[in-house]
């Protein structure tokens, strides 16, 4: 009897997981279908791009600046005398460009952008504003979801690109001001193994982060139930799922794009 209950709970969880997967797939399909409704999403896309992207520049730059400083000091601390100090520049450039700027910015924006979207859409959902839009023959996916997802996908690389510049610049300033390193030496190290691919890799990765974070925020908001508590749970789940998915995607891109690649 007890084992039967165990098997039932297992089936219930599996069913819920598949149901969630299917719901997510259906949500993605509806979002994709809304792309054709340009007249609905295009007018509001720039508004969301400004809100989600331009509004995130200060926090992204702030994070990148301190990351660059800490990375330069950490590199100088880690390098022994066997490693030339100009490799600080190499480490700062490679790490900021390929990993820290996209991931840290993505995690920060998961909290700022994802939670904001989930809260907005969740509130609209629990207050039946979305139902009202549907009554007015507005496609909520074209009006609410797609512009946000597009804004996130486009603006995340913009924010991350600026974060890269700010991070490397902060690393350079920290190296010159706090370490026994000249500008020439720092950029000698930074240029040593620099490839255009590094920037490409970071920007594409950040675009995927932007798409996932906004998509999760929209999904959780649109599925929110039960009033303010449901909205809060939706926001919380958005941040958690977004953070998890950012790390999963980070590993995914590393495996797909870096594994076996010869520089």
């Amino acid at each position: 009897m007890r084992s039967r209950a165990l098997i039932e709970s297992l089936g219930r969880y599996a069913n819920a997981a598949v149901e969630g997967l299917g719901r997510t797939g259906r949500f993605a399909a509806d979002t994709g279908r809304a792309v054709v409704d340009v007249g609905t999403w295009a007018p509001v896309a720039t508004f969301h791009a400004r809100t989600l992207g331009v509004g995130s520049l200060p926090i992204a730059s702030y994070i990148a600046m301190f990351t660059g400083v800490v990375l330069a000091l950490l590199a100088s601390y880690a390098f022994t005398r066997a490693v030339p100090l100009y490799f600080v520049g190499t480490l700062v450039q490679k790490t900021i460009t390929m990993e820290l700027a996209p991931v840290l910015t993505g995690l920060a924006l998961a909290g700022r952008v994802g939670a904001k979207i989930a809260a907005e859409l969740g509130t609209m959902k629990v207050t039946e504003q979305i139902d009202a839009l549907e009554t007015l023959t507005y496609d909520p996916f074209a009006y609410l979801v797609l512009p946000r997802v597009l804004a996130g996908t486009v603006m995340f690389p913009v924010v991350v690109g600026i974060a890269m510049v700010v991070g490397i610049g902060a690393g350079w300033l920290a190296s010159v001001a706090l370490l026994d390193l000249t500008t020439v030496e720092f950029f000698k190290g930074a240029r040593l193994f620099f490839l255009g691919f590094d920037v490409e890799y970071g920007l594409v990765k950040s675009a995927s982060f932007g798409a996932v974070v906004t998509f999760i925020g929209c999904r959780e908001g649109m599925l929110a139930r039960g009033g303010a508590e449901g909205v809060g749970q939706a926001a919380t789940r958005t941040v958690v799922y977004s953070a998890v998915m950012i790390l999963v995607l980070d590993a995914f891109w590393a495996v797909v794009w870096l594994l076996g690649r010869q520089t």
Partner: protein, 334 residues
Amino acid sequence: MKRANDFVVGLTILGAIVAIAAGIVFMKQADIGQRKTQFIARFRDVGSARPGTPVVIRGVRSGRIESMALADGGWVEVRMSLDPAVRLPENPVVLLNEASVFGEWQATVLGRDGVPRDADVQRQLADAAQGGTVLPGATLPDIAKLTAVAGRIAGDVASVAERFEVAFDDRAATELRGSIRNFSDLSSVLARTVREQSRNLDSVSGDVRAGVQSLAHAAGQLERVVTRFDSSTSRGEVDKVVSDAADAARQLRQASRNLLTISEQVGKSQERLHSFIVGSDSIVTRINRGQGSLGLLVNDSSLYRNTDSLLKEFRSFLADLQRNPKRYIQVRIF
């Protein structure tokens, strides 16, 4: 409001694109719109060089590798660009080598005279020099190859160690233990011998020390003699001695000549003495025979007695003369 959003978003995107593009151009040190001098070199292997690898002339970065492609005959053709002001050295060749131990590579352009005297490099250059207008190139071994060689050496050492391990079985260990024991005994005997010999050595060393002291003393005396001799030499005494010796020798020669003369005279005297003795002998013989006056005097006792009484009377006469000289002697001046 919408136009403001569009402007801000567009400006942000534009700014980000400009910042990223400028960063990439800066990092890659790309020269936009500047003409470059280009040339091609060919290699059998390009190691870890890749597009963007710096081209260095006499230690100065002067360009970069633009592209590389596989070519016929097993070659890799590498296209490089140089700053327009840079001139290639005479008879140029290109070496691909590591710029540091951290995996940085560079293409070094240098004259054929400056190529390292490495047989493999020379062979690569001679092989690649048959390419017409294409510059010959060679690739120097990188750290990985060197470490691969070191790895092979380590493998050989490991195999030797493995063989040693195989050969070093229980029997070998037993024999080794016995050898060590024998060596221990031998070392004990050796230590004892050394102790005994050390005592002998002590006495020998004492003798040697005394001998050395004697030698030192003799050396001191010799030194003093030499010093004295040296001072004598410096004062001219030796010359005087030699001169005196010469005089002495001369006098000795004179004396020997005199001695020779004397000996000749002695010889003559001896002959005369011999004839005198012979004559004396005949006289003595005649005396003994009682011939002649002396023979009669020696052999006739009455003559002796007469002579003796004569002597007695003469002695009494002398005594009387001493007592009464005036009896016999009268001195008158006028």
